[in-house]
Symmetry: C2
Subunit: 147 residues, 2 copies
Amino acid sequence: MSTKKYHQDCSPCPLAGALDVIGDHWTLLIIRDLMLMNRHEYKDMLEAWEGISTNILSNRLAKLTDSNLIASIAHPESKRRKLYYLTEEGKSLFPVIAEMTIWGFKRKENDFIPPHLKELLTGSRTKVEKAILKSLKDWEEKHLAVS
Amino acid sequence: MSTKKYHQDCSPCPLAGALDVIGDHWTLLIIRDLMLMNRHEYKDMLEAWEGISTNILSNRLAKLTDSNLIASIAHPESKRRKLYYLTEEGKSLFPVIAEMTIWGFKRKENDFIPPHLKELLTGSRTKVEKAILKSLKDWEEKHLAVS
DNA sequence: CCATCTACTTGCAAAACACAAGTAACTTGT
DNA sequence: ACAAGTTACTTGTGTTTTGCAAGTAGATGG
């Protein structure tokens, strides 16, 4: 048995540490689903375009939960379902998602860009970020029981 | 024989397309070396903290060259050495690197941050970006023969 | 000529991944 | 009440990617 090697065990560079958490092919797509695509359930994420496999999705959701980037509650309509959502730390990935999306878009202009992000290409980031954080807060108020 | 599955083959999302190119554990660290750490040779990159293995480095340099994010010339002092540098498209990754570095730094305040990026935490990004692009231009003027 | 240095390539074991097929805990329809 | 889903997973199997060690080819240096 050998343990996986993490950059942060040998590197003091914050970029390397970030890559340990979000530096794979799937993690940021899950964050995107939660942040921009309004997908909050396992089955919703399975149905995203990229076609993540079910074991990988399960694994990434667990890792993201361990890293405190996401959390979950039981679905109010059914105990077998779960609702996933971003923690504050997860939401703080917005600038990363935004810049990578812009970069990808400039590189190969696709026919799609997540609804909230369209404005990024022309307008101000803080404005877009504020709108997105607002929409996430609205979702939380609706779905997370406030004590 | 099956071909590797790329997100962009099935997804119109620019983030997914970007992840096909820079969504692994090593690629952005190589870009960082070229952009911020003044490492322009194979051996320099091997010696970075994270300890990339030689076959992976070779593979990533080839992929990055194919994707037109980096290019190389022969070292003026020795034919057996090469100098790698960022293309304009590679340099355009600055905002991505910057945001991921900031995110990583906030998450776990390390004792190190690449010299040029320190100012990011307090000051303006455009100013820092300008300074970095200037330093890359200086390097190019010194090492790339201008016709 | 012989040692060394640089940028790789090769071989192999270990880990991660994709895909298909379960499974357990519910819920839905009758 | 009970069979037929649904949902969120887990398990199994084969393929791909990675990590590590070793080797190679083409300079270069003494």
